[in-house]
């Protein structure tokens, strides 16, 4: 039973063409996270929502935006993807900020 679902699993986009990645959860968790993970590196937190409260990391580029229309769904928008944005994007959820995070399978983004 999938608990954190990410679509699509693979996304190819063109340089500068906006792209949206989606995440949904069946856990009814308050907190949803977006991470960027590049090859052989740890996941890097981009931002998170605590309920409707949006929390951006200080070093997250403005090119990255997020929306959470309801408890179950969260979107990552990349307004003008650059070659350096090619990465795995991971969504995670938790019941609290320092509680166990449950990860989706990730979306691998390729920028041509």
């Amino acid at each position: 039973d999938a608990m954190v679902i990410q679509n699509p699993r693979y996304q190819v986009t063109q340089f500068g063409k906006p792209v949206t990645l989606s995440c949904s959860q069946t856990l009814n968790h308050n907190v949803m996270y977006w991470y960027q993970q590049k090859s052989s590196q740890a996941p890097k937190l981009l931002f998170h929502y605590y309920d409707k409260d949006f929390n951006n990391e200080a070093d997250t580029p403005d090119n990255f935006q997020s929306r959470r229309p309801n408890t179950s769904f969260c979107f990552l928008d990349i307004r003008s993807p650059g070659l350096g944005d090619a990465a795995m994007y991971l969504c995670a959820t938790s019941s609290g900020r320092i509680e166990t995070q449950y990860f989706g399978p990730g979306t691998r983004l390729l920028v041509l």
């Binding site: 052989s40 937190l45 166990t100 995070q101 449950y102 990860f103 399978p105």
Partner: protein, 114 residues
């Protein structure tokens, strides 16, 4: 300042031999401690979590970790490695007291040889 250090970026073992992946943290507060595993092109899966109920925590797939407060360590062990254990392992620490975030270690890549 809060930080997490995984002492080995790569560990290589033979199948059937013990595994030790080391993790140290620094914090002024009592942390929450986790180990996650990531297989290639997959999301992260929780192996185990320290809940303060016991210093020795048992996880999935035969892994366990021991919390040693005096050493600020949370090393991951397994008595006998299996080929399917080959993956990236992340030590993750949650710091309360105002920070309220999980911090990921840099990861340890475990290779298991026949």
């Amino acid at each position: 300042a809060q930080s997490v250090t995984q002492l080995d970026s790569h560990v290589s073992v033979s199948e059937g031999t013990p595994v030790l992946l080391r993790c140290n943290y620094s914090s002024s507060y009592s942390p929450s401690l986790f180990w996650y595993v990531q297989h290639p092109n997959k999301g992260l899966q929780l192996l185990l979590k320290y809940t303060s109920a016991a210093t020795l925590v048992k996880g999935i797939n035969g892994f366990e970790a021991e919390f040693k407060k005096s050493e600020t360590s949370f090393h991951l062990t397994k008595p006998s490695a299996h080929m399917s254990d080959a993956a990236e392992y992340f030590c993750v620490v949650g710091f309360s007291g105002g920070y309220n975030k999980l911090i990921f270690g840099a990861g340890t890549r475990l290779a298991v040889h026949p």
